[in-house]
Symmetry: C2
Subunit: 170 residues, 2 copies
DNA sequence: TTGGAATGTCAACAACACTGACGTAAGCTG
DNA sequence: CAGCTTACGTCAGTGTTGTTGACATTCCAA
């Protein structure tokens, strides 16, 4: 509060992007964009009697193969009961394999089966296609800004999880 | 397909942001950021026995006072039955007023009451605070890119709705 | 004026989140 | 070894939010 905008050595006029109206537009942009973001996978999932929760599980198991249930729980931010319902169907349908840990036998390590990889591919192809189009349309500079704002919007804990996954993938 | 990246006169190296890995990171950034985006209002709503759907309804009624149920339906992208349940509780609790249309008596025009405005203020204060922090952290250029990418990610119909709201607010 | 389209409401159901309680197996610690 | 904790799974119950289906009201046009 009581920030007149001259604190960080920024000229007052460059703070136009912090007006309430600009912030509201950012909020609405997030809302509408997220709908587009999930629309394509949702259509695919609807035919398979799966939902968004299954998509998320498959995505992160693919991203971090061998991850434990607890780890996945923290990333997804749901209760174990909720995740368990999803994992049970994925394992029953042969998309995910759960292996007892070698060093710690209490842990279950999760892997995608071939069928699981096929679904993951199908879902992420659709989602990446939209992301690719959006990135191409907006250009490289915009993509950098996009990523910086999103990162700043995350809870600190999620920012760490996100950073860990980034290292994982590169 | 078969786009070698030289089409629009861009050098090959500036297309690094379109690699699968970059796209995956964009996807995960959206996922984690959206969680942060909704976290603060969710906390407030939990105490009031309301959910995200109530927040969305209140937000857009505030944004376009007098809007019809049908109009709100299109913006929110849910069935009228789903919206109706939410509106019913909001009206019963005295946060929203529903007035029968003058020219077309089938329509209901929606308005926030004083109590409704108070809730909207409380929710959007929290959400704007996070957005403001993120915008400030990322800087004005990043905000422009953020908005451009999000806009490109929307379904065309939602992009139009978004543009209409923007004009409305300015 | 009659029949269809548009608008909105009520009822029932499914997906997915939550809490709370409990059970089992495995690891850790005094 | 005994007792505590951790990791995972499950059962039962509840709430929000989405869905379809059926229906009433109102408007408009043939």
């Amino acid at each position: 509060m009581r920030d007149t905008g001259m604190g960080a050595g920024l000229g007052g006029e460059s703070l136009l992007f912090l007006t309430d109206e600009q912030l509201r537009q950012g909020i609405e942009a997030m809302f509408f964009a997220y709908r587009g973001f999930t629309a394509d996978p949702d259509r695919i999932l609807a035919d398979l009697a799966y939902g968004r929760a299954h998509h998320r599980a498959v995505h992160f198991i693919n991203r971090a193969p061998g991850t434990t249930v607890n780890n996945l729980l923290n990333i997804l931010g749901v209760t174990k009961q909720s995740l368990n319902r999803v994992l049970r169907t994925l394992i029953a349908d042969g998309l995910v394999e759960s292996r007892v840990g070698q060093t710690d036998k209490r842990e279950r390590h999760l892997f995608l089966t071939d069928a699981g990889h096929a679904l993951e591919q199908k879902l992420s192809d659709a989602q990446r296609a939209r992301m690719r189009t959006a990135f191409r349309e907006a250009g490289p500079d915009a993509v950098g800004g996009f990523r910086r704002v999103l990162e700043a919007m995350m809870d600190p804990e999620m920012r760490r999880a996100y950073a860990r996954l980034k290292e994982n993938g590169s």
